[in-house]
Symmetry: C2
Subunit: 422 residues, 2 copies
């Protein structure tokens, strides 16, 4: 059992209210939140939080973690050049061992920024499962098949293999995107989801071109077309949603789908600014993701929260657009629920102990007029003092406790990057 005392606690069970008190963990779960009782049990460790903040950890609801190897490989080039000349040819060279190594590099960044779960789409899920579970971090793998109906067999076999592999690993049905697969695949994924009572996820309406071409092909936008096939009878969501109009958002609202926004990636690749304000006001569920580090270029929930908030102000020419605190919810509670981590969402007795400690004495968070808003508009990953996942402290005051040193990870990845980008 670990005791955090003398804390400010933002449980996020119902908004962003903050109370003073203490929080205990027992194994991988939170066992107590409240005032200091008259009698205390024995703890393996007692941590004086010194009036700092405990809050739910961040959940990265869309990423391609292993793309760390291509970060800053090609900058300031058009999207098509980047993808076809600077990404795909190099991804073709990846081995499973490379993906394991590059995931570990991403994990260093996730933990230092308070992120304890990644909703990851990439090659070699077994490599990612190894990297994440060894470090003690959660991986929710999202299927990313493309092609035709026959490819759904591979999705199903991965799903069966990974769905109950490890307490820290989950697998969600998914496919790459409407525009990289045909209707037979979409229908077969819908059938599988209905048979398994599972949600489905996909990249959706990231660029205007793919959005418009779907309308030409199917007479309906991606969201409306996929809904018509019965894809989302058990929920799910979409990544990006930049070009969603009111009807698309209505599809999301009525199916309880997750609108996973990736504002940094959409900015860097000039895809556009997603309609987060409208989606929020219409009651669509929001989460945030970084997308891959080559198109961001950080794996930092603070960047996404900040951009999620301020880009809406630019989009709507209105400094009052979208309450900043909504981005804090999207990056934590929203992200957890979007990827199906329903016991990792808030701080509550019985929930998984996935939490972070924020240094409220940091200069950039002064004065503490409005802490949730400050975290979104002023905060950054330097404010994260401690990251706990499933009751284990994986990062504390700049030090990692993940069974391998950053130096080892860097030396390993440097060799691989030299080979891959030769």
């Amino acid at each position: 059992m670990i005791r955090f005392y003398n804390a400010k606690i933002m449980t996020m069970a119902d908004g962003c209210g903050i109370t003073a008190g203490e929080l205990w963990t027992d194994g991988d779960r939170i066992s107590y939140i409240g005032d200091t009782p008259a009698e205390l049990p024995a703890f393996e460790r007692e941590i004086d939080v010194c009036g700092n903040l405990l809050m739910p950890s961040f959940k990265n609801a869309h990423t391609h973690s292993a793309m760390t190897f291509l970060r800053s490989f090609a900058e300031d080039v058009p999207l098509q050049t980047w993808l076809f000349e600077k990404v795909f040819p190099y991804e073709d060279r990846l081995t499973p061992e490379d993906v394991y190594a590059f995931d570990r590099l991403a994990i260093l960044e996730y933990l230092a920024s308070g992120t304890t779960a990644a909703f990851d789409m990439y090659f070699y899920p077994e490599s990612s499962a190894a990297a994440f579970t060894e470090a003690g971090m959660r991986l929710v793998f999202c299927g990313s098949i493309n092609g035709t109906a026959k490819d759904v067999e591979r999705l199903n076999s991965q799903f069966q293999q990974f769905r109950n592999l490890h307490p820290l690993v989950k697998y969600r049905l998914g496919f790459h995107a409407e525009y990289t697969s045909d209707e037979s695949l979409h229908r077969e994924v819908a059938r599988l989801a209905q048979a398994e009572h599972e949600p489905v996820y996909t990249h959706i309406s990231e660029t205007k071109r793919e959005h418009d071409e779907c309308i030409e092909r199917h007479g309906a936008s991606p969201a409306q077309y996929l809904e018509s096939l019965g894809l989302w009878e058990y929920g799910g969501g979409g990544f990006h949603c930049v070009w969603f109009d009111e009807a698309d958002r209505a599809v999301y609202k009525r199916n309880g789908l997750w609108f996973v926004s990736c504002p940094a990636s959409n900015a860097k690749l000039a895809s556009g600014i997603a309609p987060l304000k409208e989606a929020y006001e219409e009651g669509v569920q929001l989460a945030l993701g970084t997308d891959g580090p080559a198109s961001n270029n950080a794996l930092d929930p603070f960047r996404e929260m900040y951009l999620g908030a301020v880009l809406q102000k630019l989009r709507h020419n209105d400094a009052a657009a979208l309450p900043a605190a909504e981005m804090l919810k999207a990056a934590t509670v929203g992200g957890a629920r979007a990827m199906g981590l329903h016991d990792c969402d808030i701080l509550a007795e019985g929930r998984q102990a996935d939490l972070i400690m924020i240094d409220l004495t940091a200069a950039n968070l002064q004065p503490p007029h409005h802490i949730p808003e400050s975290l979104v508009l002023s905060g950054d990953r330097a404010n994260v003092k401690l990251t706990m996942c499933a009751g284990k402290i994986l990062y504390e005051n700049g030090e990692y406790h993940i069974g391998v040193s950053p130096a080892e990870i860097l030396a390993d990845t440097a060799k691989r990057i030299a080979r891959l980008t030769d």
Copy 2:
């Protein structure tokens, strides 16, 4: 003398090339950059840079440092409400001692993010001069008078008082904005600048409304109107420049003026996205500022560089718009020159030793394919290991060496904020 050895060095004397070597300081200046010579003099300290990066420090070319006290005081409200209900009434209560205290709070944030000079516009310059010089950081104070010709006397008297006050302090002629003063003031400032052979600075074309109203009043945009009065015969620049058209940028180009962009403030207050790409391509000189922390809400050059780069991609719907490295130049060399700190711009023998050390082993900067671009698109203030100003190490590995502890500053400001916002 201090010796930095085993370093990567980006002098920024001519682009963003990086060489290996060492750098020495002697007093407040850089005394040597090059290979390790056969014989070494005696040093008071020798620092193994461990292959990390030395580069020029950041210069914040537009700020209102003491506005730290209003950070996160009112969020998600329209600009006019914010200014008239949540800023001005509280600023009226400020004492000189308050400004000193709130400047010290800002200095903590500046130094931790690698910033060694602030181009500051606010009340009570004597308070700011005390706060900055005691900490060892540079202050370039910018006049911010408004009103009519008679107010220029105050500008001149401040100018005479502060221009040679201290090696770390400079004073530049300036006024608040075209729309908060009348033509008699503008003409009198122009006369003073011509008499003193001095550059002039002002807020300019920040919002569409002020830009358009100037055209109504004077039949010309702020840049064109002020040029016609002879304001910029000895150079200067403008803060924001959001609504600059081609003719405005031509005014800046032909007068060698500095286009000081504040992308975070312009986003949060929904002012717009400044035409940085066009200005860059036309050869206008660029610098970056944070604006005040209440309208940003950080004092972080990494945020400004990042936004400066990616917002252009959104504005132009082009992932290739504006090379990211240009923002690194604007935040360092550009900023120094914009505020007239010509001996603090690059790393070179004889220049002021205003420099930072960047941790190139940080996970978010891997792999080191393109370091300048990585600093802009992936970097953050957690990558700053050391900040030196005028040859003194003011910040190193999370510790400040400024003659006062962060805890003392926080305790002092907390009391004042409680009184001011009561």
